[in-house]
Symmetry: C2
Subunit: 400 residues, 2 copies
DNA sequence: CGCTTTTGTGCTGCCGTAGAACATAAACGA
DNA sequence: TCGTTTATGTTCTACGGCAGCACAAAAGCG
């Protein structure tokens, strides 16, 4: 989504808004580590100015003064600051095998969550979203008193039109043109309309940020979300690249072999046909309901079919990811979903393929890493994105 | 290049710098169309404030007051503003068949240029850069009096380390680890150290912007630069995506068919082997020195070999670009270099392939377009990038 | 010729940050 | 024990920048 807004002139209030945002971000990046003086040092302002900004944010509940530990240094002890504990974001996710709701606060702590596993392939959207709405209502009721939910997000495994609030198409759910906000109406407060997002984009975001404004282990990486299909996202400088309509990251349908098997998407030889969960398990001769854990066990035990399936997937991933890295120059790959569990097995071959096929590998060797093992990463990402509203415009959340 | 700079607090002077930049950009985007009052309207400030900002920029030579045409409307006639005519950027390019130098001013006008065609494959870097230096000295000497060259850029067909000023490798020139600044020393003034950039990135930039700050025909597009190999770049919101090391856009080495022919890069079935200039001409049976014009003539005349070669290239481009569009969600492709000339022939098949292989094609059909026919587009892009310094920090160029 | 309309230019007031002086709260050392 | 040192937090004044308003200037219109 390229922002085509007309730039507006900066005024005094813009200055203040900018600095409030910088202070908030600085504290979020290092919770509990910065005092008013520390903020002043981080921003290069005087202590007087920093103190005034901090005071406003504390008064509005966006920052908290926390208890200080034993004084270590000499002078007057500092008052440590942390992100406020009242603002919270509601993250939701519907996937082929899972419905999840999770609430995060500004410090990235999980205030409440509900996960529900169920096979939703070929399901009725109304029923699934009604289930989700029930979980969400439960979770909202269980929040600590004083919590202020600033926004909501919903992660969906398909093409989303965020502007109009439509899920255009989710192949694995077999849903088309669904409007979740309508089907959720009643379960959520009227002012809490969930922003839709792609599951892989949001899961990638939960890797890029440990908590709102706090950078995760990687800043630049290509994320692969192995659910039933293969979703993906590219993250550069901590920002998920969404493309011009928000449909970026469809790595699962990059062509690995034009002479390969047909894909329901209309193309041939898509990566998903080689490394998707179902394709992978089928190739290994593992029953579909056994899961990647069983595949891993067999491969580590030396089962030839399992090893061949893993090698085939590594090859296909190598071809597709080499293309992505050649185009994007982001030589770090993070594997999520079912692929995360197989990282150890996939890595050697995959890194070898990448080293051979990536033009710049000689100067910077591509690296493959496993993502975290959080169950519904999309829900976490959706909650993080809801909390963006606070970091991007703190003034909106301060009392007039 | 992800910018990891620590954000610094905003002060009053930041406000002014921001607004000076906005005024300058507004005028650059609509040269000759805005007056002081128009600027005020565009930025949403008062006329008083806008006038003060404009006065400073005019005094510093970054804006000019131009003659007004016949008064059409009622009230007091406005004083039209245009980007200053004194600041200029020096753009240079070395390619396998060409050395070019071009100077652009803030309005995007060519103040002077020198092009020199010569086969530089397998050439000596020192000799080629000495040639370039000679042309650059000529051009700088031919500039109108009062011109102020604010920066220089050099477009190179290979992997560049812009930070250290090194060309790491240019396959078609067969150059490795070349430091152009050293080899150019003496030809340019000591304070004019050229910033290195990839040829395709800079050529793409010349498509994205007609003049500094003036958006071109497309804001979001994938650019393909057909020289001897195939370079590429992705542009989103008018900004060229450079990746984490500046090596993004190597579309020529995306794998089209893993079982395809070996490529000197170490991979197999690279796009370049199908749609690169040499591969294309060879497949069509056209002599290498005849060029794509001859190929086009033959294909339009119905020559079967020529048509087959074009169709093969369209197929390969379709496979590679579908992957790129799936990953980036930028469904506009602009063809440059030798491919630009063949756009009419390639488009039908290519768009067909893209429609079939791009997942979101149903909601937004990918489109193929021809880039402009400017000879050394990389040099233009390099000059535009040199002029960025002015748009990004106008204060630096104003008298204290 | 006077009225209307739009542009450009002064002036004052408000706001936010810089800078410096001062108050505060701890550890350190004799 | 008590002054010294050191760092934090607060308060006050000064300065720079924009908003808002009034006014001058330069055209067209009736």
């Amino acid at each position: 989504m390229s922002d085509g807004r007309t730039p507006s002139g900066a005024r005094q209030s813009t200055l203040r808004a900018t600095n409030l945002g910088l202070v908030l971000r600085a504290v979020c990046a290092d919770p509990g580590e910065l005092s008013r003086a520390g903020v002043a040092a981080a921003l290069g302002t005087t202590r007087g100015t920093a103190a005034r900004l901090v005071d406003d944010l504390v008064a509005g509940g966006l920052l908290d003064e926390v208890e200080r530990g034993p004084a270590a240094r000499r002078g007057r002890p500092a008052t440590p600051l942390a992100p406020g504990s009242r603002p919270a974001g509601l993250g939701m996710q519907v996937d082929a095998g899972l419905v999840a709701v999770r609430v995060l606060d500004l410090r990235g702590r999980v205030l409440a969550e509900r996960l529900h596993e169920e096979d939703l392939r070929d399901s009725d959207p109304a029923a699934a979203l009604s289930l989700l709405g029930g979980l969400a209502a439960d979770v909202l009721g269980a929040l600590p008193a004083g919590t202020r939910v600033v926004g909501a997000g919903l992660a969906l495994p398909g093409l989303v039109d965020a502007g109009r609030g439509l899920l255009l198409r989710a192949p694995n759910l077999r849903w088309s043109r669904v409007c979740p906000a309508e089907l959720l109406a009643g379960a959520l407060p009227a002012d809490l309309v969930p922003a839709l997002g792609n599951e892989a984009d949001l899961a990638a975001r939960s890797v890029a940020e440990d908590a709102p404004g706090r950078p995760g282990p990687h800043r630049d990486f290509v994320y692969l979300s192995g659910q039933i299909g293969i979703g993906g996202a590219a993250v550069l400088g901590g920002r998920v690249m969404t493309g011009s309509s928000g449909w970026a990251g469809e790595i699962g349908h990059v062509c690995v072999d034009p002479a390969g098997p047909a894909c329901p998407c209309g193309s041939t030889g898509c990566l998903e046909r080689y490394a998707g969960r179902l394709a992978l398990l089928a190739a290994a001769g593992v029953p579909a309901d056994a899961g990647p854990g069983e595949l891993r066990t067999r491969a580590e035990a030396g089962d030839p079919a399992a090893r061949a399936a893993v090698d085939g997937a590594a090859w296909a991933l190598g071809v597709a990811l080499a293309g992505v890295v050649n185009v994007l120059d982001i030589p770090t790959v993070v594997l999520g979903g079912h692929l995360a569990e197989l990282t150890g097995l996939l890595r050697p071959r995959l890194e070898e393929h990448l080293a051979r096929r990536v033009l710049s590998a000689r100067w910077r060797r591509p690296v493959v890493d496993a993502g975290g093992a959080v169950p519904a990463a999309g829900a976490t990402g959706a909650a993080l994105r809801a909390l963006d509203a606070v970091l991007e415009d703190p003034v909106r959340w301060l009392p007039a």
